[in-house]
């Protein structure tokens, strides 16, 4: 079965710096890799999706890279702000087209942006 590793230790970043979060997975590469943000007591909020044939995706201050050789995705938040403090989840979408295996999530990385 697919296994996902995210650095579950809290990541402390100074405001204004770039935060970089890592997602490593085993076994086969997913068709899609997604990143979500989750605040305490709330459901995850979709941020970005990257396909297996894409290397990089950007949205405002967010950037995601996908390296299927390394089996790794990096998630970057540039010009970080205290409001970016949250848990960030990496999720793999295997979707074979014939059925649905749902999303496989990592444990998430707790990001803290220090003012």
């Amino acid at each position: 079965s697919q296994k996902i590793e995210q650095n579950s230790e809290a990541l402390n970043i100074q405001e204004g710096k770039t935060a970089t979060l890592t997602c490593n997975y085993t076994n086969y590469s997913p068709a899609y890799l997604q990143w979500y943000r989750q605040d305490p007591g709330r459901g995850p909020v979709f941020l970005l999706l990257i396909r297996e044939n894409e290397k990089e995706k950007r949205k405002e201050r967010l950037k995601v890279t996908f390296d299927t050789t390394l089996k790794q995705s990096l998630f970057h938040i540039t010009a970080s702000q205290p409001a970016d403090s949250a848990t960030y989840l990496c999720a793999l979408d295997i979707y074979s087209g014939g059925g649905a295996d749902g999303l496989t999530f990592g444990k998430g990385t707790h990001l803290i942006i220090q003012p």
């Binding site: 899609y32 979500y36 459901g43 995850p44 059925g99 649905a100 749902g102 999303l103 444990k107």
Partner: protein, 113 residues
């Protein structure tokens, strides 16, 4: 436009009881998924339904069941509750365009005592 709504928001049940959780997807979304999230872990896939049919099932015992109604809302049922079923249960809906990912509700916090 309302997001994904789940009810109830909190629930306390006794071991051995059963529980029904409800979810209304975003208007126009025909796919609903259920996830279980225990403290400190990422959500774990339970079921996915599309057009009232089960399309996927995670590694959960038969005590867990679900269904989807003609209006695309969904119910998750759990029988013979165990203490280990205490968790945040999340519902997610999705449209046909995968580029928009899944939209999650705020969840139902289930505590089994």
């Amino acid at each position: 436009d309302a997001g994904v709504t789940q009810s109830p928001t909190h629930l306390i049940k006794t071991r051995g009881q059963h529980v029904t959780l409800r979810c209304s997807p975003i208007s126009g979304h025909k796919s609903v998924s259920w996830y279980q999230q225990v403290l400190g872990q990422g959500p774990q896939f339970i079921f996915q339904y599309y057009e009232k049919e089960e399309r996927g099932r995670g590694n959960f015992p038969d005590r867990f069941s679900a269904r989807q109604f003609p209006n695309y809302s969904s119910e998750l049922n759990v029988n013979a509750l165990l203490l280990g079923d205490s968790a945040l249960y999340l519902c997610a809906s999705s449209g046909t365009d995968r580029n928009y990912g899944y939209t999650f509700g705020s969840g139902t916090r289930l505590t089994v005592v």
